[in-house]
């Protein structure tokens, strides 16, 4: 049996990869949840985009998975300080979903089955930075990890990647979401360590 010093392997990992400040590497995929896990059958699932002018765009599950999808391999960073490298997803870019949407909005409030919300500037959902993901590691996304579909916006702390996504409200003014109204940072850039308000 080989004896490996955890301290040694830890140093090697942190030397090989650059993590945002204050983060540590994890191999597993911790499940964080602020409430009971919603279980939404895909035949009753839908995604709605509401604009600031009151226009509504809706996609059924079938319509979602028929849209052009991308495979995404990305590092993710949770505000509780774990980071996971090279996670593999499949989903539809928000560029595709929002292409037809007429809006003058600068902000988005993302809404989930179960009542969770999170906010971000609309521009952070565009230009290849965000997806509605429905596959993880070549499998359906489990309900515990936000399935059937979750937002994936990996350049921000992972609380912004709302599980069980069901809608996006486009807004002219910023409207803080679930954690953003309870002390967490409005934007949440892990590379600037924007964990809490005022960071």
């Amino acid at each position: 049996m080989a004896i490996v010093s955890p301290g040694f392997s830890g140093r090697r990992q942190s030397a090989d990869v650059q993590l945002p400040p204050g983060q540590y590497l994890t191999e597993d995929f911790p499940v964080l949840t602020a409430g009971p896990t919603p279980r939404v059958p895909t035949d009753r699932w839908e995604l709605t985009v509401n604009t600031e002018a009151g226009q509504k765009y809706t996609w059924s599950w079938q319509q979602l998975i028929e849209l052009p999808a991308e495979k995404i391999t990305t590092d993710i960073h949770c505000v509780t300080k774990w980071s996971k490298l090279g996670t593999r997803w499949k989903g539809v870019s928000l560029d595709v979903l929002l292409e037809e949407v007429e809006t003058a909005a600068d902000f988005a409030l993302v809404q989930s089955y179960g009542g969770y919300t999170t906010n971000l500037p609309l521009e952070d959902l565009l230009d290849g930075q965000a997806w509605i993901a429905y596959r993880y590691d070549d499998d359906d996304i489990t309900p515990e990890h936000g399935g059937p579909a979750r937002l994936l916006v990996p350049h921000l702390y992972f609380w912004k990647s709302a599980k069980w996504v069901r809608g996006i409200q486009l807004l002219l003014e910023d409207e803080p979401g679930f954690w953003e109204t309870a002390g967490y940072h409005d934007y949440g850039d892990p590379w600037r360590e924007q964990r809490y308000q005022g960071d």
Binding site: L32, A34, W179, G183, Y196
Partner: protein, 87 residues
């Protein structure tokens, strides 16, 4: 003379209230009106903060986020807390 004073006037009352064990307080849910002890709430703590939900309607009644050197307490889901005190 002003009709109000600043929040420092709350110091005595709040110190008395927040020093007690709040799990024995009776809270009323803003979502459904259910009344029950704080100890009876459903608490989710594998999260960026602590989230307490009503055992009747599952709405959030209390959230607590701790950061180094500060904490946020959000009670917007609670109509009121009835806190037993020494008579």
């Amino acid at each position: 003379m002003s009709d109000h004073v600043d929040g420092n006037a709350l110091a005595g009352d709040l110190r008395e209230i927040f020093a007690v064990d709040l799990t024995v307080a009776t809270g009323q849910c803003a979502g459904c009106g259910y009344r029950g002890s704080v100890a009876s709430l459903r608490v989710y703590q594998n999260a960026p903060g602590v989230v307490a939900r009503c055992p009747h309607c599952e709405e959030v009644v209390l959230r607590l986020v701790r950061a180094p050197g500060r904490a946020w307490l959000d009670l917007r889901g609670t109509v009121s807390l009835e806190i037993p005190l020494q008579a």
